[in-house]
Amino acid sequence: MKILALDTSTIFLSLALAEDEEIIAETHRRLKNKDHTRYLIPEIDRLFKKSQRDLEDIDILCLGSGPGSFTGLRVALSTVKALNFSLHNKIASIPSMDAIAYNIDEQQDRIIACIQDAKKNKVYGALYKRDNGLVRLKGYLLMEFDRYMDLIREVKERENKEVIFTGEGCQIFKEDILKRLPQGYFAERRCWYPYAKNLARLVFIRLKEDKTFLSTRNKVELLYLHSQYANITKPKKL
């Protein structure tokens, strides 16, 4: 079973090639101008050359589905769809936030709180714990920072565990978090971003439980979280 995983939801371009639960090649590079479109295809090409594998042998294309940069997400999606069009393989869509949470070591028996800046004092978030893999407790959320902190405190008391924060939001919100939760821990900076290798690992974990989560080209979806103003099924006429 071979998986090509890619994530373009953040300022990183992250790629990984996995074979039978082993990561055989990966790229994780920070882009200066969020120009994922420019580097994605050449980097995929390089990944295959480096690992001496063929694109044709890929069984599953996996993409990080967000939440994250709107344009970034679409870069990965359109690339995956185009590859799938010729390869006729399966597609797996895994939230990038799961991959961020998976950066946190299993030994740390803590609640993992992902946080990303959604602007105007709102955040994207999700809460997890590690338990032979990854268990999502809450999410995926788009809410006011203060409400998210209330929710975290609630879950913290229920689970009776310490909380470790990760995600790019750690940078901007660190002080505000410590004001509300003085005993909060923060992950190292390298754990704030989604690694494609984690996406691949999460695919292997999910495959053991349920093979039906794999998707086809026409069904694959991104994780868009809309603000309350736009969160309506019927288009709102301006």
Partner: protein, 151 residues
């Protein structure tokens, strides 16, 4: 809040040019006013202050956004033809508002809820054929100072 009366197209441009010298990246300008009240003229002045040829500035009524390369990038939104809020979200507006340039939005009242709190609001009122009242307002301390110095 400050209101400046402009008596001509050139004067509107000059006011905008003066404003441009104080602006920095991530500043968002919300322009409100009827058709022909001077919004695009104002942006032409702003562009020229940033070292962009004003002829390049035309209202992106159909494409919704235009980008101009100046001393600082200038992003020009025209939401006149915007019908649904979903269309606006599809523009990836955060990339512009919180990016590396100055954003100007014509018909900004249509996306009131998405404007950053620090937005500089500019209202255009038609007084008579050439005369326009231009009112500036912002909650942001930095922009407040700039408005104060504007004439």
């Amino acid at each position: 809040m400050k209101t400046i009366t402009s008596l001509s197209i050139n004067q509107t441009k000059e006011i905008a040019r003066r404003l441009s010298s104080g602006l920095k990246e991530k500043d968002v300008l919300g322009l409100v006013g009827d058709l022909g009240s001077g919004k695009t003229t104002f942006i032409k002045g702003l562009a020229s202050g940033l070292g962009i040829k004003e002829e390049r500035v035309i209202s992106p009524s159909f494409v919704l956004i235009r980008e101009y390369k100046g001393r600082i990038p200038l992003y020009h939104f025209d939401l006149y033809r915007l019908n649904y809020i979903e269309e606006f979200e599809l523009l990836d507006y955060k990339r512009y508002f919180y990016g590396d340039g100055i954003t100007c939005i014509e018909w900004a009242e249509k996306i009131e809820d998405f404007l950053p709190d620090s937005c500089l609001r500019i209202k255009f009122e038609i007084i008579d054929k050439d005369k326009r009242d231009i009112t500036f307002y912002s909650k942001d301390n930095y922009l407040k100072r700039i408005i104060k110095g504007l004439r």
